[in-house]
C-alpha cells in the first residue's frame, strides 16, 4: 500500500501544492488536510508547508498553532507521527513547542531567496534517513524570519544529542545560531527545516533534485516502521 502523507493548508499557506507535488514525485499519496478540520484522515505522516499562515502577522506561526488541525497533529507527533515543518511549518512547530527555540527576523532584515548549500548532520530522523551524514545538498532557501535562536543550554543539548538535522554551509543566509537550518525532536519523528526541499524535486524547476531525499526518507521510514 502506498504511504499517505498529509499536507496541511492554513489560510495563507503557499507551498502546499509544491509539498504535495514532492510527496507524489517521491511515490506517496498526498492527502490535503484543512486547518479547520481536526481529522487527519488516517495519514502516515504530515507536512506543514511554507507560506504566511494567517499573514504571519504578530509572529510567524503564532496564530496557526491554534488551528484545530494542530491539536491533532501535536498529539500525534508526541505519539510518534512523522511531521515535517518546512519554513513556516518549522515556525509553527516551534510556536507549538513541538520543537525547541524560535525563528526570528533575519539579521540583515531582508527576505532572502537563494540556492543554499546545507550539510546533513543527522541522517537518523524519519525525514533524513536516505542521506549520508555529512552529505552536502543544494536547495532553495526563502524567508524573512529564518534566524534560529535558542538559549545556549538548548543549543548545546541539540548538538550533544545529534538533533541538529542540517546546517548552512558556504554562507549563512539569515544569521541562524550555529548555522542551524533544521532540527528534530528527541524521538526523531518531528523535523523542522527552514530551506525548501519541495522546490528541489524536478530538474526543470529546481537547482537540484536534492530535496527529494526528505520525501523518500519518510517512505523508507514508514516501510521499516513496525506495523
Amino acid at each position: 500500500m502506498t504511504a499517505r502523507i498529509g499536507v496541511v493548508t492554513f489560510p495563507g499557506s503557499l507551498d502546499d501544492r509544491d509539498a504535495a507535488r514532492a510527496v507524489r514525485l517521491a511515490g506517496a499519496e498526498a492527502v490535503s488536510l484543512w486547518h479547520d478540520d481536526p481529522d487527519l484522515r488516517g495519514v502516515d505522516g504530515v507536512v506543514l508547508p511554507g507560506g504566511f499562515s494567517y499573514g504571519d502577522y504578530l509572529r510567524c506561526g503564532a496564530i496557526a498553532r491554534f488551528a484545530p488541525v494542530m491539536e491533532t497533529i501535536a498529539a500525534g507527533a508526541r505519539a510518534g507521527l512523522p511531521v515535517l515543518g518546512i519554513c513556516n511549518g518549522f515556525q509553527i512547530l516551534c510556536e507549538a513547542h513541538l520543537l525547541p527555540g524560535a525563528l526570528t527576523r533575519n539579521q540583515h532584515l531582508h527576505f532572502r531567496n537563494r540556492d543554499q548549500w546545507l550539510r546533513i548532520e543527522s541522517a537518523g530522523t524519519a525525514w533524513t534517513n536516505t542521506f549520508q551524514p555529512g552529505q552536502e545538498i543544494l536547495i532553495p532557501v526563502k524567508n524573512g524570519e529564518g534566524c534560529y535562536v535558542a538559549d545556549e543550554r538548548t543549543l548545546d543539548e541539540l548538538e550533544a544529542t545529534g538533533r541538529v538535522v542540517a546546517r548552512y554551509v558556504h554562507g549563512n543566509p539569515n544569521g541562524s545560531q550555529r548555522d542551524i537550518a533544521g532540527i528534530t525532536n528527541e524521538a526523531g519523528n518531528v523535523v523542522g527545516l527552514m530551506p525548501h526541499p519541495e522546490h528541489a524535486v524536478e530538474a526543470l524547476t529546481g537547482p537540484s533534485l536534492d530535496g527529494l531525499g526528505f520525501f523518500t526518507s519518510i517512505l523508507k521510514h514508514l516501510a521499516g516502521a513496525p506495523a
Binding site: 489560510p11 495563507g12 503557499l14 507551498d15 501544492r17 509544491d18 507535488r21 511554507g50 507560506g51 504566511f52 494567517y54 499573514g55 504571519d56 502577522y57 531582508h110 527576505f111 532572502r112 531567496n113 537563494r114 532553495p140 526563502k142 524573512g144 525548501h196 519541495e198 522546490h199 524535486v201 524536478e202 526543470l204 524547476t205 529546481g206
Partner: protein, 623 residues
C-alpha cells in the same frame, strides 16, 4: 473584529436624519448650490455636461462619482483617440478571448487553457509611501487577473528610479522593493523578472509598474457584466475605510477651505493575507459556477465597480450603501463611494446562489455582504439607472453609462518638443571611443559597475521565485518562463522592457524598440510571441510636447505590433509623471508573452556546458 459581521437584518431601517445629507431631493430643490467641482478636477463644460445628463445639479455623492470616473485615470480622456490604433491596426487573432477594455486581455493557448496578463502603474502612490504604494500596486494588478477567472501565477516589476546616489532614492527604492516583495511573496506568486533603471528624470516620479500573469481553463472565463435583473450585488473582501480618498475629501467641507486633519486622504495600506484569501475564495466560486459577473475594486473603488458592471450589461442597479461594511462608522456616502480600500471584489450573484457564495466566503474567512440588486431598464427601452440610497434616502440616481462611456474625450494639442532637434543632433558617433586595450578595459569595467548594468541580485533575491513550483526561468534570464500545464508541458515566456532614453530621442522608434527587445527576449527562449501588454508612462497630457511624445509612442507601438503580427491585449496609461514643468522621459514599457509547447525545450541564456565537447561554436545572427 470580535463581533460577528453585521448581516442585512441587523441594519437599522430607521432613516438617518437627512439634514446635512445631500440627497437627490435636496439637489433638485437647491439648483443654485455652489459645488467644488474645480477642486475635484472637473472643468466648467464637464460640470455643465453633468447637469445636462441629470437635469439638475449632481448631489455630493454624484459629483464625487463623476469626478472620479471622468478623471484622466479612469476615462482615458486624453489617450483614447490614440489608443484606438491598437485595435485598428491589430492583426486578426482568433486566440483573443477578451481584449482591450476588459480587466485584462485573455489569450487562448490550448484546447483547454487560456492565459491573461497585464502591466499597470502605481507610480505616484509609490513616491508618497514607497512600501505601501508598491505593495498595493501588486495587489491591484493581481485582482485584475483574478477578475478574468484566472489563477494568478506570476508577477514581474519594471521599476525606474532617480539617480542611484540621490538621498531620496535611498528612501524610495528600498521601500518599493520591500513592498513588492512582501506583497508578492505573501500571495505566493513567483517574481520572474522585471527591470531596475536609474535616471535623474525619475527623481520625483519613480515608475513602479507591476505585471501579473494568470492561467484559466477556457470555460472559466469571467466577465464584469451585471446581467440579470434580480441578481444580487455582493461586496467581497476587506472592509471599506478612508483609504486614498484623494480630491474627494474636498467635498467634506462645505466651505471648501481647510478640510479637517481627519479627512486628509489617507494612504492605502495593503493586506496581502486578505488578498490571498480573496484569490482562493474567488477561484472556488468560479469553479462552482456561482457568479454571474465579477469586477475588482481598483483605484476608483465602488464607484467604478458599480457603474462599470451595470454599464457593461446595460442594466440598472439598486444599492443600499449603508450595507457596505465600514472600518470607520463615521464615513459619509461620498467617501464610501470614493474609497480606494484594497482587497475588495464586486460580485453579481443569482439569488438562489447567494447562500452558497456567503458560505464559501466564510470558509476562507473573507467578509461578504449583499449590498444591492440588479434592476431592469425602467421603460424597457432606456438602459437602467443606478440608484443608491443611504439609510433610505436616495443620494445617487444616474444612468451608469454616463459615467463609464460618455465621459469627455479630448484631442489635445500636440507639438514636437522644441529641444528635440538639438538632442538628436548630439550624436553618439561624435563621442570619443576607447582605442587602447587599457581604455577598453576601463570602459568595460565602468559599464558593468554602473547601477543600470550591474548585477540585480540584491533586489531579486528579496523576491520568491520558486513558489508554486513551475518557475522554469527567472532572474538573471532575459525572459521569465513558467510551466502552465504539468501534464502537457505547455509553458509561457514573458519579458518586459522599455528604454526612456531612446523614447526621449524618438518616441515612435523608442516604443518600437521596447517592443522589439521584449519580443526578442521571448523569442530567444524558444517561445513563439503571441500577445503584448503595455504601460505608457508619460508627463502631463496638457503639455503639447508630452502629448506629441505620447501620440508618437502609441503610433510606434501599434505599427510595430502590426509588423510583428501580434496584438496588444491590454495595458495602462500613466500621465502626469511630472515635477513642475519637467516631465519624465517618455517611457513606454512593453510586455510580450510567448508560448512554448514543450517547456523543457526552453533555451536559457548561459552557454550550456556540453559534456564530452571541448568547445562550443558561437554565432552572431543579424546585422
Amino acid at each position: 473584529m470580535g463581533q460577528p459581521e453585521p448581516t442585512l437584518a441587523d441594519y437599522p431601517s430607521a432613516p438617518v436624519d437627512p439634514a446635512g445629507l445631500d440627497t437627490v431631493a435636496q439637489a433638485t430643490a437647491t439648483p443654485g448650490e455652489l459645488q467644488p467641482y474645480t477642486e475635484l478636477g472637473l472643468r466648467d463644460d464637464e460640470y455643465d455636461r453633468i447637469r445636462q445628463i441629470l437635469g439638475r445639479r449632481p448631489t455630493q455623492s454624484e459629483l464625487a462619482m463623476y469626478s472620479i470616473m471622468w478623471s484622466e485615470h479612469c476615462s482615458y480622456k486624453s489617450s483614447k483617440v490614440h489608443l484606438r490604433q491598437f485595435s485598428e491596426k491589430a492583426p486578426p487573432s482568433d486566440r483573443m478571448l477578451a481584449g482591450i477594455g476588459e480587466n485584462a486581455g485573455v489569450i487562448q493557448v490550448s484546447d483547454k487553457l487560456a492565459v491573461t496578463f497585464k502591466v499597470e502603474s502605481h507610480n505616484h502612490p509609490s513616491f508618497v509611501e514607497p512600501h505601501q504604494g508598491a505593495a498595493t500596486g501588486v495587489g491591484g494588478i493581481v485582482r485584475d487577473i483574478l477578475a478574468m477567472g484566472a489563477r494568478p501565477i506570476a508577477v514581474m516589476d519594471p521599476l525606474r528610479f532617480g539617480a542611484a546616489d540621490h538621498p531620496d532614492t535611498a528612501r524610495v527604492l528600498p521601500g518599493v522593493v520591500a513592498g513588492i516583495g512582501t506583497y508578492g511573496n505573501s500571495l505566493g506568486l513567483p517574481n520572474i523578472g522585471g527591470e531596475v533603471v536609474f535616471d535623474p528624470c525619475y527623481q520625483g516620479n519613480p515608475l513602479v509598474n507591476a505585471l501579473s500573469l494568470g492561467v484559466l481553463p477556457v470555460d472559466r472565463l469571467q466577465n464584469k457584466a451585471a446581467a440579470g435583473p434580480g441578481n444580487v450585488v455582493v461586496l467581497l473582501g476587506a472592509k471599506t475605510g478612508r483609504d486614498g480618498i484623494g480630491g474627494v475629501s474636498v467635498l467634506a467641507s462645505a466651505t471648501f477651505d481647510d478640510a479637517s486633519e481627519q479627512r486628509r486622504p489617507s494612504v492605502q495600506v495593503g493586506d496581502p493575507f486578505m488578498e490571498k484569501l480573496l484569490i482562493e475564495a474567488c477561484l472556488e466560486l468560479y469553479d462552482a459556477q456561482l457568479v454571474v459577473g465579477i469586477q475588482d475594486l481598483g483605484g476608483a473603488g465602488l464607484t467604478c465597480a458599480l457603474t462599470e458592471t451595470a454599464a457593461a450589461a446595460g442594466t440598472g442597479m439598486r444599492v443600499w450603501l449603508e450595507r457596505v461594511p465600514l472600518r470607520e462608522a463615521s464615513m459619509e456616502p461620498h467617501e464610501i463611494l470614493a474609497s480606494e480600500s484594497q482587497e475588495r471584489m464586486l460580485l453579481i450573484v443569482a439569488p438562489d446562489r447567494l447562500d452558497a457564495v456567503l458560505k464559501t466566503a466564510e470558509k476562507w474567512g473573507v467578509p461578504a455582504s449583499a449590498i444591492g440588486e440588479v434592476t431592469g431598464p425602467e421603460s424597457g427601452v432606456e438602459p437602467g439607472r443606478l440608484l443608491i440610497t443611504w439609510h433610505g434616502h436616495p443620494v445617487v440616481d444616474v444612468p451608469p453609462g454616463s459615467l463609464v462611456d460618455d465621459g469627455p474625450v479630448y484631442a489635445r494639442p500636440m507639438r514636437e518638443p522644441a529641444d528635440l532637434i538639438l538632442l538628436q543632433a548630439d550624436r553618439a558617433e561624435t563621442l570619443a571611443r576607447p582605442s587602447t586595450p587599457e581604455a577598453l578595459r576601463e570602459t568595460v569595467l565602468r559599464m558593468i559597475a554602473s547601477p543600470n548594468l550591474c548585477d540585480k541580485t540584491w533586489i531579486t533575491e528579496q523576491y520568491d521565485r520558486y513558489v508554486l513550483g513551475n518557475t522554469v526561468l527567472a532572474q538573471p534570464e532575459d525572459s521569465g518562463v513558467i510551466r502552465i500545464d504539468e501534464e502537457t508541458g505547455l509553458g509561457v515566456a514573458i519579458s518586459v522592457d522599455g528604454n526612456g532614453r531612446y523614447a526621449r530621442l524618438d518616441p515612435y522608434n523608442g516604443a518600437k524598440l521596447a517592443l522589439a527587445e521584449a519580443y526578442r527576449n521571448v523569442a530567444v527562449t524558444g517561445a513563439r510571441p503571441v500577445a503584448v501588454t503595455d504601460c505608457l508612462n508619460f508627463g502631463s497630457p496638457e503639455d503639447p510636447a508630452v502629448m506629441w511624445q505620447f501620440a508618437e509612442a502609441v503610433r510606434g507601438l501599434a505599427d510595430g505590433c502590426a509588423e510583428l503580427g501580434i496584438p496588444v491585449t491590454g495595458g495602462n496609461v500613466s500621465f502626469y509623471n511630472q515635477t513642475g514643468a519637467a516631465a519624465i522621459h517618455p517611457t513606454p514599457v512593453v510586455g510580450v508573452l510567448g508560448l512554448l509547447d514543450d517547456v523543457t525545450q526552453r533555451v536559457p541564456m548561459g552557454f550550456a556546458r556540453t559534456t564530452g565537447a571541448d568547445h562550443d561554436l558561437i554565432f552572431l545572427l543579424g546585422e
